[in-house]
């Protein structure tokens, strides 16, 4: 069981490193999104600070959906997905490995690059740390939910747009509380604990259920 997990994780990371374009697209998109607002809005510090939490989460949401379309469809087209389904180990674990790889390639880079946004938007140091932390616990939810939609739309026409249409509304709770946590962190004396706890709960729930649902969806789509 663990062997299939490790194999698939290693494989997906290897593939991404060979082909690099995915990571770059995601990062590029993220940076463009966060740098476009200050240009239009002007450089008033207060407004920028007010917008920053929402902008960073929306940038994360959209960037994460960019790579979703190819999450399973690349494997589907060359037949390796069948190999994975037919491997004598739990399909949910294999799916989990794929989702983890997706997060490592799209979520994690965003977490790492987010201080740049703090710079653009004049965020205080504390808020930057809060931002990195909530991104760290929130972005996995995006990959988890996205995987379900990606599995359901496997091999369908208009993949990218269809996946986003299905998945973006489902991202809303993460968006609301993720942005809420960062905003709250800029108000002194208010605890961000409730936000963090909610995000953690989402994260755990999605990690428990999503691989399982995704595996079921994959089996349906493969027929």
């Amino acid at each position: 069981m663990t062997s299939a997990f490790g194999t698939i994780l290693k494989r997906d990371l290897l593939l991404a490193l060979r082909r690099r374009s995915e990571i770059f697209t995601v990062l590029f998109f993220f940076i463009v999104v966060i740098s476009l607002f200050p240009l239009g809005v002007g450089t008033e510090e207060k407004i920028l600070q007010q917008m920053a939490p929402g902008v960073v989460w929306i940038a994360a949401l959209l960037a994460s959906t960019l790579a979703l379309d190819r999450l399973f469809s690349a494997d589907y087209e060359d037949g390796t997905l069948e190999k994975i389904v037919l491997s004598p180990s739990s399909l949910s674990m294999s799916v989990f490995a794929k989702i983890l790889a997706h997060w490592l390639l799209t979520g994690l880079p965003l977490v790492l690059i987010s201080p740049l946004l703090g710079l653009f938007y004049h965020l205080p140091m504390d808020s930057i740390f809060v931002m990195m932390f909530v991104l760290f616990i929130g972005t996995p939810v995006l990959s988890m939910l996205g995987a379900i939609a990606a599995a359901l739309t496997l091999g369908l026409r208009g993949g990218g747009v269809l996946v986003s249409l299905l998945v973006l509304p489902l991202y809303i709770p993460v968006l609301v509380y993720g942005a809420g946590a960062i905003s709250t962190s800029m108000i002194t004396g208010v605890s961000i604990e409730p936000y963090v706890l909610l995000l953690l709960a989402f994260s755990l729930l999605s990690i428990v259920f999503s691989p399982w649902v995704t595996a079921a969806a994959l089996k349906i789509s493969l027929e």
């Binding site: 939609a149 359901l152 299905l166 489902l170 809303i172 709770p173 989402f202 027929e223």
Partner: protein
């Protein structure tokens, strides 16, 4: 063959039964909606003075809003039934329900927006209730989009049912998030049911129209389900033996056409 009996004959017995029920639902729907609106427009004149006339939008607005939510639950129910028992009819009913649900959501949004213009002075605001409904519309559209993107019937049934289930798990969370962006101040999330503040006279009109909308939803859902049955079972013998399909007996199909227009 034992298991298949249920699976295969269900649409066959459903089809004529639904055909008989549809006219009844139509009659009920038209009578209830007209009755409710009549009551609302002519029996409540004393309550609604000129400044509050716009309140009459409530009859269609609330009725459609309730149906929009309720039909989602119905859709998920059928989808779940389909996933558990693998009955084809439940899948068909699920997809038939989705479209009527979408129509209801659109009506609720449109009438709500118009109401908003009269009462708040703007068509759209990012009020939690409105936002929730917009998201509900997205979820409906997603379901329909997924279904129509898949050609294979078997896959489309199962995939969209799974999506509906995921939606069922997430819609309450989304509702909570939208209504309560600040979790520290959500001790009493639930705003008191707005119904209590509504005049009983108006309430009557509202409830009667809602019931009418309900009947309407039954009627359209069944009509759509019958079409889906026809499309999917077109190659079976029972479909080609149907009076409306048979080639020779034109008189029969005329009768069918007449009942069709009557309903």
């Amino acid at each position: 063959m034992k298991i298949n009996w249920f699976k295969y004959s269900a649409p066959m017995s459903f089809y004529p039964l639904a055909g008989k029920l549809i006219p009844l639902f139509w009659i009920a729907a038209i009578m209830l909606i007209l009755g409710g609106l009549y009551w609302g427009f002519f029996k409540t004149a004393d309550i609604l003075n000129d400044q509050k006339q716009y309140y009459r939008i409530i009859y269609v607005h609330v009725a459609s809003a309730w149906m929009a939510m309720w039909l989602y639950a119905v859709m998920v129910f059928w989808a779940m039934l389909g996933l558990i028992f693998n009955t084809r009819l439940s899948y068909m009913l699920a997809s038939a329900t989705a479209v009527t649900g979408t129509v209801m959501t659109i009506i609720a949004l449109a009438t709500g927006a118009i109401w908003g213009k009269t009462s708040w002075g703007t068509y759209w605001d990012w009020d939690p209730k409105l936002t929730t409904f917009l998201i509900l519309l997205f979820v409906y559209i997603g379901y329909i989009a997924l279904q129509s993107a898949i050609d294979d019937v078997r896959r489309s049934d199962k995939a969209s049912a799974l999506l509906a289930l995921v939606g069922l798990a997430l819609v309450p969370i989304i509702y909570y998030a939208v209504n309560c962006p600040d979790p520290t101040q959500c001790a009493s999330l639930h705003q008191e049911s707005s119904l209590k503040r509504v005049e009983s006279n108006i309430l009557i009109g509202m409830l009667v129209t809602t019931l009418g909308f309900w009947m309407y939803s039954f009627a359209t859902t069944l009509m759509r389900a019958r079409i889906i049955v026809l499309e999917r079972e077109r190659s079976t013998t029972w479909v080609s033996n149907l009076p409306e399909i048979s080639l020779a007996e034109t008189s029969n199909s005329k009768i069918e056409a007449r009942t069709e227009t009557r309903s």
